[in-house]
Symmetry: C2
Amino acid sequence: MGRKREFDEEKALDAAMQVFWKKGYHATSLTDLTTNMELQRPSIYSAFGDKEKLFEAALRNYTKLHISNIRSKLQYNKSVKDTIRLFFEDLVEEKCQGNQNKGCFCINTMVELAPHDEKFEILTREHQMYLSVIFQEMIQNGIQSGEFHRDLDAKALAQTLVVSLIGITVLMKSRPERSFIDNAIISTLSLLK
Amino acid sequence: MGRKREFDEEKALDAAMQVFWKKGYHATSLTDLTTNMELQRPSIYSAFGDKEKLFEAALRNYTKLHISNIRSKLQYNKSVKDTIRLFFEDLVEEKCQGNQNKGCFCINTMVELAPHDEKFEILTREHQMYLSVIFQEMIQNGIQSGEFHRDLDAKALAQTLVVSLIGITVLMKSRPERSFIDNAIISTLSLLK
DNA sequence: TAAATTTCATACTAATCAGTATGAAATTTC
DNA sequence: GAAATTTCATACTGATTAGTATGAAATTTA
């Protein structure tokens, strides 16, 4: 019964994600959203609730995509260390180029909203923890296979990688010299041995 | 000639700095500013220009204070490594407590404004570069005194410390387990040897 | 003391904000 | 095909936004 929805909810959410990712929560207006989602206001409100609900949905959409993206980039091939190195180098490469310096939506939200809203404090924290677990598993594989020393602290090193990842992602927003980032990557990866 | 200014410009700027530091640029309204600066709108506009000018003045005020703050915390005493360790541990301690998770004003701005305004891209980048130079000088001292290996890359390690500092400062906004941060500090400092 | 000048407080502006009421268009169920 | 139901577009709401015009209060120069 009733009329059929004319818009693709998933596409609309992706568009919302892009806008919030680029501009953040407060700098994004409903007008920005209607323009980019190609939807009228009532459609947005009926499908996603208010601005904050939409933001949360967009962020959850992002973290899900982000995790699967990272998982595929970290597919085990030969050396764990080389895989991680390539991951970091790719990060620098893609963020330097076309990608207009949006950084990581989750990190942006950690800075903008986590201190003011427990919901986002938890959401962003759990995402980072999840990332550290992925790194930890990789490092453990490296230990098992003999690539790394037996007495390496996989958990601690994985958490260090996450801290480094955040630092690099944030610092790149100020477009520092390439070598600044490269040096940080080299030093950090030298911990894996 | 004319009436004397009744307010302390420096105090007003400090108050503005606190508000922008806590809430960021977009989430801070002129009403927030008049309340916290205890000034009427026309007084703010005549003394500092518009909202963006005031923000820039507040940020410059912050970076100046921040540098002198860090310089005093990094006063050389005995071991360079211990001094740096203490610096990072203090950071965790103070940000965990009373300080209501504001993080670093400069880093917050790097995330919120640097990608959208070249003026802030430059300002925040230069601040981070300045910090790395301070670390670099310390590490060079450590090499000179024999505390560190002769072949340590002081510049690269200093830049790594800055990346780590940023990562930790940002991650703490999501209030992760204390050990997460502690592990990152221990690992990163293990590069100084 | 009088004129000149600056600060400050009130009250305002036009624009934009998030969110919604209303009714027409479209589709389904009966 | 008629009634019921849902979506969509237009146009609106009251609140809040950044920024300012105006005049009174206060101080200085002459």
